[in-house]
Symmetry: C2
Subunit: 201 residues, 2 copies
């Protein structure tokens, strides 16, 4: 196949590193960008540079923050410091916040345990979590908010064991039928969970 001019090749190679983007999709992005005004391409590039330069991790909960130092949630005095929610990634905080059902603090673990892929406790912020719980007596409850899949369950079990010695409540998110679901098509594990977790009206 004939090679495109070097700047096109380079841009396509750079974009092909994004998750789920192959060489064909990357080329499609490049040809789309070439049809835009030059100022627009530059604004995309500037936004990426700013991303690399301005985003840091909060020194307390490890979420991404633009300020440097401690993030908005950690410095917000109105949040309930007795609750600590452990999430996989920064983006999960946005999802939790969108429920408006949680007013405590967060800890970003940085992934879930996956020994086969080399993600051991050392690769995650497990030590930081344990230290934080040990040092901060105000934390009453630690909510392990991981997805109910193999890696998530493994991580929940591991963390529950690590946190047990401190005598705080360690909880996990409820499993059951999602809203709008049909009992007819629910899998047996979910339906079993929903039965076990049934509530008085």
């Amino acid at each position: 196949m004939r090679r495109f001019p070097e700047p096109i090749q380079n841009a396509a190679a750079a974009l092909a590193r994004l998750p789920g983007v192959g060489p064909k999709t990357a080329l499609r992005y490049v040809f789309y960008l070439l049809k835009q005004p030059k100022a627009d391409i530059e604004s995309v590039a500037r936004a990426l540079v700013a991303l690399g330069e301005r985003i840091q991790t909060c020194s307390r909960c490890y979420t991404y923050t633009a300020g440097g130092g401690v993030c908005e949630i950690c410095t917000d005095a109105r949040r309930d410091a007795s609750l600590l929610c452990v999430v996989e990634e920064s983006r999960d905080i946005a999802t939790m916040e969108s429920t408006d059902a949680y007013k405590g603090l967060y800890h970003v673990l940085g992934g879930t345990l996956n020994p086969i892929e080399g993600v051991t406790p050392d690769a995650l912020r497990v030590r930081e979590l344990v230290e934080r719980v040990r040092a901060d007596e105000t934390i009453r409850e630690i909510i392990l908010a991981f997805s109910p899949n193999v890696q998530g369950e493994t991580t929940i079990l591991y963390l529950a064991k690590q946190l047990a010695p401190f005598g705080r409540a360690v909880t996990r998110l409820a499993r059951g039928l999602p809203i709008g679901a049909s009992i007819e098509y629910a899998d047996e594990v979910t339906l079993g969970d929903a039965l076990k977790g049934r509530r008085t009206m």
Copy 2:
């Protein structure tokens, strides 16, 4: 939904303008980039800046070129100047070249006719094509290499009419069964085309 820090929002908004990329995918790209070393994010940004700054269109065939002025194919004396292949976009040249079956020159039309979406002949490089054919007596044959869909067919018919007065051969790509196809599953139009275009062995 809670807003992410501004640099994350901006980068996601910039990437969400790419074709087929929605806000969720854009955020996924951003969180992926944030996990990469800062130098990697900058190299992506640099590649995009170079794209905007270094890529220009060839002043003769309107393909994208890094040099400025006239492109490599137009300046290549070994190419057959009596053949002119009209394609929709720059990227189609790469596909044509990969066949190794064509050694002539190109003209990039910049799209296909689509009056409903406002793509009239004035929005394409039709005038430039007609002028080039009129001015260049060496062009013997003009190959209209468009996809056999509604827009492509419309464009082929329109261009054939515009080029008729100059008395050169105006051809189109053969339609028929693609290699590996099964007659059992071929649609009747393709099979009809294959029959009409049958060749002596």
